[in-house]
Amino acid sequence: MRISLRAVIRLCQVLVVLPLGSAAHAANSETDFKAAYAAADAAEREAGRLRNQWLATEAALTEAKKAAEKRDFDQAVAAAREAEALAKASIFQATNEKEAWKTLEIR
């Protein structure tokens, strides 16, 4: 049976990548979740200070917590990161609107 060089290289690639993949999977630990959640929570608090929180952010934070309770840290980290992105968007909106609202004003 002849095995081509290309097949050997592919096999080596798979063997090298597999452990890396599982390492990446393992990276989404409880610690990662806590860090991601803390970042999202801080951003959402800032949005709250600006009186401009979004429902989707709150939903993503809740989803992150629920996933963490089920010890699904991949999902928990993903949801927390989504929450952080949404919170940052709402902060941008509130900051931008400090002046932009005037463009809508009836004069």
Binding site: W54, A89, W101, L104, I106
Partner: protein, 278 residues
């Protein structure tokens, strides 16, 4: 030179618009009214108090038929009873208001110079309760809707008469309300003005959007969508949710200031509440 500088400084401070950083509610109200009158030249000014029914003939016909047996009638009766019911200490809501609370709705919100804040009718009702040893009732609930419905009914036809005293705090509250009205918020990036200035008369799903001019004159309202009566507080919080924003707490400073602004720019338009909407 010093004389001229001093004179200029005095003129600058004395000019009312400059003293209040250019805040001019009367000019705003004129511009606001002109905008809607020009946008809808066939609508009579006082008819803006009827919201979408002023803009859509089909809806108006349905509304006129519904008014034969209006859906807010039960709430109105309930409000009359609640208003007349004495507190535990024997006093009544009537003891807290001028003219015993009859025909005064058009004067709210008011600016309270003691607290330096806006007092809405809903807030005044709860303050009355608390001053008489009663617990406050929820701002979005049926009892508050019923009480304000009754008070609005006793003011029907009376023009909004909102006053902004010569007090920088009152002007600031008005300006804050204006800013809130025009500020985009929520994940949908809508402001109040997006619907009620840019698109009144247009449909948003099944709803015909009401014009901002006169929009609070019909409050509180029975909404078929809700299947019940709703207060101004309920309307504001629901609007925020609809644009995917987290609503503020009812009767927060922002909502009170928003009500102050919206009521002031509708001065002169008659109270039409309680109202009904699809």
């Amino acid at each position: 030179m010093r004389f001229w500088l001093t004179t200029l400084a005095i003129l600058w401070v004395a000019h009312p618009a400059c003293a209040a950083d250019g805040i001019d509610p009367a000019a705003d109200a004129r511009a606001f009214r002109n905008f809607f009158v020009q946008k809808f030249p066939n609508v009579k000014l006082e008819d803006f108090a009827n919201g979408p029914y002023a803009l859509n003939e089909d809806m108006r016909r349905q509304w006129e038929e519904k008014e034969q047996f209006p859906p807010y009638e039960f709430s109105l009766e309930m409000g009359k009873e609640l208003f007349a019911k004495p507190f535990v200490n024997g006093k009544h809501y009537a003891d807290c208001f001028p003219d015993r609370g009859i025909g005064v709705r058009q004067d709210y919100p008011q600016f309270d110079d003691k607290s330096g804040k806006v007092v809405t009718l809903e807030l005044a009702l709860n303050r009355c309760r608390e001053a008489n040893g009663e617990r406050a009732i929820t701002y979005t609930g049926d009892d508050m809707a019923a009480l304000t419905a009754y008070m609005a009914f006793t003011s029907r036809g009376k023009p909004f008469n909102i006053k902004i005293p010569d007090d920088p705090r009152a002007l600031e509250a008005y300006e804050n309300g204006k800013r809130y009205f025009y500020t985009r918020r929520g994940q949908l990036n809508f402001s109040c003005a997006t619907c009620h200035v840019q698109n009144p008369g247009e449909r948003l799903r099944a709803e015909v959007l009401a014009p901002a001019l006169g929009i609070l004159n019909a409050m509180p309202i029975y909404r078929s969508e809700w299947g019940s009566m709703g207060t101004t507080s309920r309307r504001f919080t629901t609007c925020n949710s609809q644009v995917r924003g987290v609503p503020l707490e009812p009767q927060s400073d922002e909502y009170r200031d928003l009500e102050y602004f919206l009521s002031y720019v509708s001065n002169g338009l008659p109270i039409s509440g309680p109202g009904s909407r699809p």
